[in-house]
Amino acid sequence: MDMKKVRKEKFADFLATLAEQKLYAPQKVGESLRFAPVTDSGKVELEMSNTTVPPKSVFFPQTETLYRYEVGNTEIQQPAMGGVDIVLGVRPCDARAQVIVDSLFGWDYNDPYYQERRKATVVGLACNKPCVNCFCLSLGGGPASTVGLDLLMTDLGDAYLLQPLTEKGEKLLALAGETVETAAAGDREAAESLHGQAEQMITRKVETAGVAEKLPGLWEHSLWQETANSCLGCGICTFLCPTCHCFDIQDEVEGLEGRRCRMWDSCMFKEYTLHASGHNPRPTRRERTRNRINHKYSYFVQKFGHTACVGCGRCINYCPVNIDLVEILRQVKEAL
């Protein structure tokens, strides 16, 4: 597969060749970055560390209508599915995360809403400068991991190197026509060198081996209470996690029109496990904190064979009270 590159001055033209497609890319919404439909290529923001909201929001929107109905009428109308052709600017960690989420949405039931969107072409953007709390290397990823990507872009300074990885990636390059050029000799080496440098910058590490096996034995360990002491019980860590995928289903009625929809839910919320009876099997933040780590590093491993964490560092970056997953895993490792 031939590598191409697009010069930055031509990047807008490159995006224009995709104008017919439903393209999502990082953009500023309000005060933060997230993936949003591109209407103005000038707003696409690739000079970033990573988006605040991971691209899971494209494949698995925070709120999604499953069907609509009229009160008193058993007929339902399903909304159009899909609506995403290309997701561009995905960091390798987030692309790997989406592959992890795939196992959930395609396990006992093939979720059509999700799967339809997953047909989109995923264009990755290698990390030249990982963030402070990145620890992807510890989880088998890396700043230029290609898992889950159709095409990998690397920022070479004046151009993006475009490395197709799948047929979908090739197709996209074919569309690009004149806006891209064949990569020059040395571009690949330059990219690899950048990737290597990026790896060097990643200082945070976790030891995952044995964690899944060890966690059940730490059920009553004091570390959960110690962690939960400062936990606010908000949804930042889970909502911003690229692999967290829990949702709630609600009927919302307006007058005589209603819809059934699903929306992200968070295991850190008290209501998450609240029974109709009033009983709550995870009554305090201690149980909820413990569940979050166990789910990512034990239950998910048992069920799907891999951890539900890619080391993107968001939960650490955004936690208002400095609850640090790397630190928790260290404690797990050290716990007797």
Partner: protein, 327 residues
């Protein structure tokens, strides 16, 4: 002035008391320019205690956030005190919690830490983008000194302090059982310039300002959960029956959520700025809260969190309250 050894000494003494359950303070965070809330229950733990420009968290939240575990039959509930380190702004939260009876005075031991302003992490990170390891900081005159790996760097306070600290009028705790060191001089004043700026626009401009910001909200509820005044057992804003606000995350529901949250804080917000600090999508929530703080001050000459004996604003009135808009 900031004698951390003295603080540690007081903390050790406090935690050694039989009537103290635990002490909440700060310690150095795990990376960058962070401090983390620190729950101590043994005197030895005091060694890690810090008080520095990194100590942004308002620990008063934990007074009301603390979960009450079921007390086994035949046992008495733990009625020991919680000791708490407070900055000036944090102390106002304690006062307001007392006003609203969220806590009882005899259950709290307030250790006052006069404060010269805490940092805005984003401002500091922008200044030192390549710093990866945990960095400590101290106040020095009108600067904050960061002990970076390559050596210490002093930065004028104005450049790194959190917005709330630049206009701070209460650097010294308004309530404290012990004050650790001498009070600092007040340097700030507040004309609500940020609020006035936005007020000056047309309704369209104002909605233009807020629309995308509210749209970007994920309803993670961190703003609510971190707020020392938000401690309902069961918040109306995510209740299902009656359902005030639908679970759908969109501009309409998010706006209603933020209006309701701001209104519930009218006359109660003590401007610790925590909601804005914790917001992962950087919604300028203090700009919303401060609108009401300003109106409350202008219209009712009321300031929450300064007088433990005060009546709550929303539970009082004066027969001659202004009513110029009423038909």
């Amino acid at each position: 002035m900031v004698n951390v050894d003295k603080l540690k000494e007081i903390a050790r003494e406090t935690i050694s008391r039989d009537d103290v359950k635990y002490l909440i303070g700060w310690r150095q965070g795990t990376y960058g320019f962070r401090a983390a809330p620190y729950f101590m229950s043994t005197p030895e733990e005091a060694e890690e205690l810090i008080f520095s420009p990194l100590c942004t968290n308002n620990l008063a939240t934990y007074l009301t956030l603390a979960e009450k575990l079921p007390v086994p039959r035949g046992q008495e509930p733990d009625s020991r005190k919680v000791a708490l380190l407070v900055k000036g702004c944090d102390s106002r939260a304690v006062v307001q919690q007392l006003v609203e009876q969220g806590i009882s005075r005899e259950r709290v031991l307030v250790i006052g830490c006069p404060c010269r302003g805490v940092i805005d992490q984003k401002k500091v990170e922008a200044k030192f983008p390549d710093v990866r390891e945990a960095v400590s900081a101290v106040w020095d005159g009108d600067t904050v000194v960061f002990n970076l790996p390559g050596g210490s760097v002093a930065v004028p306070r104005q450049e790194v302090l959190a917005g709330k600290c630049l206009t701070c009028r209460y650097p010294n705790p308004v309530i404290a059982d012990v004050t650790v060191w001498e009070e600092v001089a007040v340097w700030g004043s507040d004309d609500y310039v940020d609020v006035r700026e936005l007020e000056a626009g047309s309704p369209q401009q104002r909605w233009g300002f807020w629309e995308e910001k509210f749209a970007s909200c994920m309803r993670c509820y961190s703003c609510r959960n971190v707020c020392p005044m938000c401690y309902c057992e069961d918040c109306v804003l995510d209740r299902l029956n009656p359902q005030w606000i639908m679970r759908s995350v969109n501009t309409a529901e998010n706006t209603a959520f933020h209006l309701a949250r701001a209104f519930h804080l009218a006359g109660r917000c003590i401007e610790c700025g925590e909601c804005e600090r914790v917001c992962p999508v950087d919604i300028p929530l203090m700009k919303l809260n401060r609108k009401l703080t300003k109106e409350v001050r202008d219209k009712y000459a009321y300031e929450p969190g300064v007088d433990p004996e005060a009546k709550p604003l929303q539970a009082s009135y004066r027969p001659d309250d202004k009513e110029d808009f009423i038909l």
